[in-house]
């Protein structure tokens, strides 16, 4: 929202603080200032001059040689004995005794100010005559497109400043172009439709600087419209559900021409572009009041009718931007006796546009439903100044005031007379809103101690009506405010106008009871700490995946939630599990020179069929991990991953076993695993925590993985449960030395290590002496080439809490193992 400092000053009584201070206050109490533009700099060299004489150029038919009087204000310029400056001018309208705008040598041509290489004037010869700078056209001054002649200033024409038009006057000062434009972020005003006009912002600035604001009479006093006649005009509103108010009036016998200079200057400062007096006035009134307005060429309205209705499906409208739009039933259209002349609240139609030939117009001031406008604007991709304002929800109560101003302004700048009654078609209009709040309510929410009077002053400064009502205050919002509904809205108003930064900053009081830790987060932290120690790298990958990724992992996309509106095709589906994303990150890292690594992620999988009682999708939290090596290694990669996982279980005291997979697993997380080289991870109580193993060849190929690769997929929820259930693994120390002995058992190849170990464990565990602590651990697994048997060597470590053991004590235990293993597994002790 561009705000002109000169503009708002006109409405505020008293001095405003310096710009820097003002910007700071706006930032603190109104909205973020995005930019402050020194508009005056564009025009700093433009000087009003009187053309003293104007003669034909001796060597060029179309040029004039002029002498201009700048009252000597410009320095370093060649002058004649009378102090006048010579300027050559090609404009047909240049003549003696006119007032024009002179751009002296070294001045930047304003229309090129923002160019990469602004045009800087000089003193140069034109066909043998020196020309010092130039006399400027409206276009060169950045005031619209008119380039047919130079700008002629009328010293008697009304303008907002009291600076006289005379030789040597600064052009910028005379027309208020010595301005600062403050650009405030629109987003702050989402709920403040009134702040999309200069008047509204002026009121707020008065409010935050502690000044009482009084709206100008035309916005304060109910308009007294005159009667008018001379043109037939039938106005209707057949969409009053979404067009709460539709006002119009006809004007006849006006003259369309360029706007007076002051109006052009106003528009340019506010970011508009002068077109002609009628269009400029409608735009200016909008920029002032935040209420969009529109003018139609009366003679182009067929049947002299103007109305609103909903479009029918398939109707089309050609709008002012020259494009044609196909409409639907939810678009509001403005129609004449035969068809569409505008898309309501968004853009006028090309067929009813005001042109230089226009003699009669219809002025429209209407109110549109913000939701309807927003929907149409989004669907057609049309984002106009009108949309920006209507989709915030303008107040319908301001329409008569604005129409009155619009009508008077049109008559002022274009002549003509009111030629119809004021038409006002509306359904029930919203009432002014009152909210009753006790000062304590306000004080409690702001930490303040204001009395009623202080609160009243703040709100009355921005034209609220405040009445005492048995201790409480009744606040009635002015008619342009649509955002005051709740006591909290008044709290916001008081806090903002006073200054939120001035509120007392005190911390809430709390009891000394500790805030509980979330045990599940503790589990996650343990996982991260353990895996970091094991050299693994935590990664985060997207929750959404491309279909190809699911395919490569052998997962079924029909089980995954799909995204309907993703900008990127890489985000087609919610992922079913994390591993596909992790596998996708292996190859780039290997290519990038990393030979061996473990990547893991803690994240969520989603599955279409997996929903809770209310139908809300369940979220499966997972720990998934991949080990990859370019180098290959000592033994199958399965064991490498198992080593990392085992370390985590050791760190957390969770006791697990690994179980061969005997029947195919069918959940999505299992699809990547080569099941003959994978294992289920089970707790001692038989709960399956997940799966670890090597990957299918198709998966390795699909993801360009090295041969040495393995992965794990574990349920986070179950890991957490297992951790909570895990006991204390501490073993008291003994004063006596421990003694160890190895035993090597040759078993058939198909006998599993777990069976051997369990048999041994059981053998020594039976009626074990309670004073002994026995630890059995693996030493080696050996198999000679092509042999039918393998040899598993275990180490038995024994320590007594009561005595120093001898070799014989251990030998008897080893013997027990040997016998049990022979019996149970046909194992030969070697």
């Amino acid at each position: 929202m561009r705000v002109s400092l000169n503009e708002i000053k006109q409405y505020i009584n008293g001095e405003l603080p310096p710009v820097d201070e003002l910007v700071k206050r706006i930032n603190e109490q109104l909205g973020g200032v995005e930019d402050v533009i020194d508009f005056g700099d564009i025009y700093k060299d433009a000087v009003i001059v009187r053309v003293v004489s104007c003669g034909k150029h001796p060597n060029a038919d179309k040029l004039h040689v002029c002498l201009v009087d700048d009252a000597g204000v410009v320095e370093d310029v060649a002058r004649n004995e009378d102090g006048y400056v010579k300027v050559v001018c090609g404009a047909p309208n240049v003549h003696a005794d006119m007032f024009a705008v002179w751009l002296p040598p070294k001045a930047v041509v304003p229309s090129t100010y923002h160019d990469d290489e602004p045009f800087i004037l000089g003193a140069r010869e034109l066909r043998g005559e020196m020309s010092n700078g130039m006399l400027a056209s409206p276009k060169e001054l950045g005031l619209g497109d008119s380039h047919e002649g130079i700008l002629e200033l009328d010293p008697d024409e009304w303008k907002p400043t009291s600076v006289d038009i005379k030789a040597g006057t600064s052009f910028a000062q005379a027309y208020g172009l010595d301005d600062k434009i403050i650009d405030i972020e629109n987003k702050m005003f989402t709920h403040r439709p009134d702040l999309f006009g200069q008047l509204g912002v002026a009121r707020e600035i008065a409010g935050i600087t502690g000044k009482k604001f009084v709206s100008p009479d035309w916005y304060k006093d109910s308009p007294k419209f005159s009667n008018g006649s001379g043109l037939d005009l039938t106005v209707s509103n057949d969409a009053s559900d979404v067009v709460p108010r539709f006002m119009a009036v006809a004007v006849k016998d006006l003259t369309v021409k360029p706007s007076p200079t002051w109006l052009q200057a106003e528009l340019v400062r506010l970011g508009g572009k002068p077109i002609n007096n009628i269009v400029d006035v409608t735009n200016y009134v909008m920029l002032l009041t935040a209420q969009p307005t529109h003018a139609y060429d009366y003679d182009k309205l067929r049947g002299h009718k103007l109305g609103t209705r909903m479009a029918t499906k398939g109707e089309t409208a050609e709008l002012l931007n020259g494009k044609t739009y196909e409409l639907s039933e939810s678009d509001i259209v403005i129609v004449d006796g035969e068809g569409i002349v505008g898309l309501g609240g968004i853009m006028g139609g090309g067929n009813s546009e005001v042109s230089n030939e226009t003699k009669n117009v219809v002025l429209e001031v209407a109110n549109f439903d913000m939701y309807a406008i927003r929907k149409s604007s989004m669907r057609h991709g049309l984002f106009t100044d009108a949309v920006t304002r209507f989709n915030k929800g303008q107040s319908a109560l301001q329409n008569p005031y604005v129409l009155d101003l619009l009508l008077k302004s049109v008559l002022d700048v274009a002549g003509g007379t009111q030629a119809s009654e004021i038409e006002d078609k509306h359904a029930g209009l919203a009432e002014k809103i009152s909210v009753t709040v006790h000062p304590d309510f306000i004080n409690a929410r702001l930490g303040l101690n204001f009395d009623s009077e202080q609160i009243e002053t703040l709100l009355e400064n921005v034209e609220f009506t405040v009445e005492e009502d048995s201790g409480s205050l009744r606040f009635t919002a002015p008619f342009w405010r649509t955002d005051i509904e709740l006591p909290e809205d008044v709290v916001e108003e008081v806090g903002r106008l006073y200054g939120f930064d001035k509120l007392p900053r005190e911390l809430p009081h709390r009891s000394i009871a500790p805030a509980p830790l979330d045990p599940k987060l503790q589990t996650k932290r343990l996982i991260r700490t353990s895996l970091k120690r094991s050299g693994a790298n935590e990664v985060l990958t997207y929750s959404f995946v491309h279909r190809k990724l699911l395919e490569k992992a052998g997962q079924d996309d029909s089980e995954a939630f799909g995204l309907s509106n993703a900008l990127s095709p890489d985000l087609q589906y919610y992922r079913l599990s994390l591993l596909p994303s992790l596998l996708d990150k292996v190859h780039p890292n290997i290519k990038n020179g990393f030979d061996e690594f473990v990547l893991y992620e803690l994240g969520k999988g989603h599955h279409k069929q997996d929903v809770d009682e209310q139908g809300l999708p369940n979220e499966t939290e997972l720990l998934e991990l991949v080990y990859a090596s370019k180098r290959g290694g000592d033994g199958a990669p399965f064991y490498k991953v198992r080593r990392v996982i085992d370390q985590f279980f050791a760190d957390t005291g969770i006791d697990v076993t690994y179980k061969t997979i005997t029947k195919p697993l069918n959940y999505p997380g299992a699809s990547v695993f080569e099941q003959s080289r994978s294992a289920l991870v089970l707790t001692k109580s038989g709960q399956t925590l997940g799966i670890i193993g090597e990957l299918k060849q198709s998966v390795r190929q699909g993801f360009k993985l090295p041969d040495t690769v393995a992965a794990a997929s574990l349920s986070l929820a179950l890991l957490h449960e297992a951790r909570e259930a895990a006991g204390n693994a501490y073993v008291p120390l003994s004063r006596f030395p421990a003694i160890s002995q190895d035993i090597s058992l040759a078993v058939a190849n198909d006998v599993s290590y777990a069976d051997v170990f369990a048999t041994a464990q059981e053998a020594v565990g039976q009626d074990a002496d309670e004073s002994l602590r026995l630890t059995l651990s693996p030493v080696s697994i050996y198999r000679a080439d092509e042999s039918d048997t393998k040899t598993i060597t275990l180490r038995l470590n024994v320590v007594s809490y009561e005595k120093t053991l001898t070799d014989n004590d251990v030998k008897s235990l080893i013997k027990r193992i040997s016998q049990s293993a022979k019996l149970a597994l046909k194992a030969e002790t070697i």
Binding site: G32, K392, S568, Q609, K659
Partner: protein
């Protein structure tokens, strides 16, 4: 027809089709199968699980048939997974621990959570898929409200029971209603509701060095009696001073969010240059850090909390940006790139 019978008849039909199919994998895309899945939401909740399992079993069976057809995969020799290491191999070493890392965002979330935990806040987690009721309705965004446009939310193809798509939450405020309800009994005991929710959020944006569609946010809520806007400023100031380990100046600008009233944008004096001006604060001396405000009475009411008795504040801060500012990270896309040369610097 009973549910089991429905599945059985579809199975018969599909097995017959399978025989005639040229491309056997097409059977997995059969419309009959899709219809079965589509039927689930229409069932009574208690019937859903059994029906779902029956369909799953059928789907697995078909997949197995397709897999067997194309099953030319090289057989790898089975291994003894019960062993701690491979035959004729030694026990594998762990990778060097000095190359292990925790993701910088996880580290930061842990640090932020620790500070808030010490300040008395509970830590909660968010969701990756949610309904519009939690993302918008309970937060005072009426349907069709233009403020919904400020959140470019991802929507699913699938619909909830009311016919609305699910959404990928665009802010962790999607948990606000649940958190308020979960800890509502604190208020009855005369204690505050105090919780932060640091988690993943999503916006449907094109990626570039400054924009990510996936990022992390920390949402905070505090509700009690006699909570005022000055406490919000003081609480966040105290948090930031603890986080940056130094005294800081803070300021609030009025802002607009549907779920807070009043709403603020919160800035802090640049902790990296002492307000002398640096790259991080774009030589402004101030950093716009987060959005916050006093919780809107409608939001409290949606959680059955009486806004006449209790008031509170809420805020949301982007975690990625904190990490980027702290470390001078130039490109937000690095976070989700899984690039080891990035990750191993943290």
């Amino acid at each position: 027809m009973k549910n089991d019978d429905i599945v059985a008849s579809v199975r018969t039909e599909l097995l017959a089709q399978y025989e005639t199919l040229e491309q056997k994998s097409d059977i997995l895309k059969a419309p009959e199968l899709k219809e079965l899945f589509a039927r689930i939401p229409t069932l009574e909740p208690r019937e859903r699980a059994a029906f779902g399992q029956a369909i799953n079993a059928l789907s697995v069976e078909l997949k197995a048939m397709v897999a067997a057809e194309s099953g030319n995969e090289k057989e790898l020799e089975p291994i003894d997974v019960t062993a701690p290491f491979d035959t004729n191999a030694s026990r594998p070493d762990l990778l060097p621990s000095d190359q292990g890392t925790i993701h910088p965002l996880s580290q930061e979330i842990a640090q932020l959570s620790d500070i808030f935990n010490r300040m008395g806040f509970m830590i909660e987690e968010s969701r990756e898929i949610d309904d519009q009721y939690h993302m918008f309705e309970t937060l005072n965004f009426p349907a069709g409200h233009p403020a919904r446009d400020d959140y470019d939310t991802f929507m699913t193809v699938e619909k909830d029971k009311d016919g609305h798509p699910w959404i990928a939450p665009a802010h962790t405020s999607t948990m606000q209603n649940r958190v308020l309800k979960k800890y509502r009994q604190n208020l009855e005991k005369g204690e505050a509701i105090a919780a932060v929710v640091p988690d993943r959020v999503f916006r449907n944006e094109d990626l570039d060095a400054r924009h990510e569609h996936t990022f992390y946010q920390l949402e905070g809520v505090y509700v009690s009696k006699d909570v005022h806007a000055g406490m919000l400023v003081a609480t966040l100031q105290k948090f930031l001073e603890e986080y940056y380990g130094r005294a800081l100046d803070v300021r609030v600008n009025p802002y607009y969010f549907p779920f807070t009233e009043p709403s603020f944008e919160f800035s802090l004096s640049c902790p990296f240059c002492n307000q002398k001006g640096c790259k991080v604060c774009s030589h402004e001396g101030w950093i716009e850090l987060l959005g916050c405000g006093m919780i809107h009475p409608s939001v409290l009411k949606a959680a059955d909390i009486d806004p006449g008795v209790y008031t509170g504040f809420a805020w949301g801060v982007g975690v990625d940006r904190l990490v980027m500012m702290k470390n001078g990270i130039e490109d937000v896309r690095h976070f989700h790139s899984a690039k080891l040369d990035f990750l191993r610097q943290f």
